[in-house]
Symmetry: C3
């Protein structure tokens, strides 16, 4: 057990507009927190400040996994579902809100010896649920020692 | 990079019984952690100690978004689904457990300059999945510097 | 409000291969972090380093709840769904990836007076989404004071 002075770092990260779908962003996230290399034990919190895009962790290799995510979620939460009442912002809007909550707005990731302690196949996905979502703002919070 | 003595705060928050559905509770959560204003960089963890209610982050403006959440999840996870084996506690119970895990029991939110660093449209929802859920206990844990 | 030196602990935990389904692992997790008893206020982060198994919190009593989870998710995300493109690793693989993201790879849990501050009915589930998933690696990160 170690007692030490903790470190807190917070950086914004704005990602450029991406097409609707699931996109690997591990590299962009890591590059935005250069202090990661100085943390022996800690946590990185990755947060998206939107309600129609989300973050998840999944396979970082085959792009067909990301295409299947898009296919599946479009079937599970259909655009323009007839029972939706909130339709003013377009047929993809309410479905986007629901997908965003199912996948979630944040990830907390362990940090070990200056690196994210992800599994070999894990990568961070930006899940863009809107047809024209625009740039997306993230807040990265690193803490550790 | 700053090294400083960190602060840990933990408060319970009991919310009164709410009807089945999705309810904005950002104001109640913030009011229950007055020390938030003293944190320059940190995280607030919001946790619900139940398995048939949950927490999520979504649109804080139109109430029709919250009604659509209720409609969608009732269709996606039907009460009294015929294959459910766990039916002793009523037709809404097992569906409530599943919805609770899909949406999740906790949220970690960035804190910046004494405030939650939420997006403009983000609000905290209490998701009450039972017909008569009763009061709900939350644990709020604030850390930062 | 207290200012004190924080504590950071990180332990790996490898769980033996479990059959496809939902398994209570609260006891194994707590046993792997003996320093928990020394934390007055803190958080325990539980993370799984895989993309076809996940973690959630739900009812710790009736085993029929865990069987209903398995029934429900198999219906909601069918194996060998005809639209899946990523089929090389077997009929259960792509469905496992999606279930893993819906339930999520991590849990953050409040710690209070040397114990997890869970609700009376809450237990940690390892959600094994593959037919033959093998052992699963977790990373447990404890912080607090």
């Amino acid at each position: 057990m170690t007692y030490a002075l903790g470190m807190w770092i917070q950086h914004p990260l704005t990602l450029p507009a991406m097409r609707r779908g699931f996109h690997l962003i591990t590299r962009e996230v890591v590059a935005a927190v250069p202090e990661l290399t100085q943390v022996q034990v800690g946590l990185l919190h990755v947060f998206i400040q939107h309600t129609s895009a989300s973050l998840t962790l999944n396979e970082n290799a085959s792009p067909d996994v990301r295409r299947d995510f898009e296919r599946y979620f479009n079937r599970a939460v259909p655009d323009a579902w007839p029972d939706f009442e909130h339709t003013l912002e377009g047929p993809d809007d309410m479905a986007a809100h629901i997908k965003a909550s199912v996948l979630g707005p944040g990830l907390t990731l362990p940090v070990q010896a200056g690196r994210l302690a992800l599994g070999r196949w894990q990568g961070i996905y930006l899940c863009e649920h809107r047809d024209h979502g625009g740039p997306r703002r993230l807040v990265l919070t690193l803490q550790g020692e």
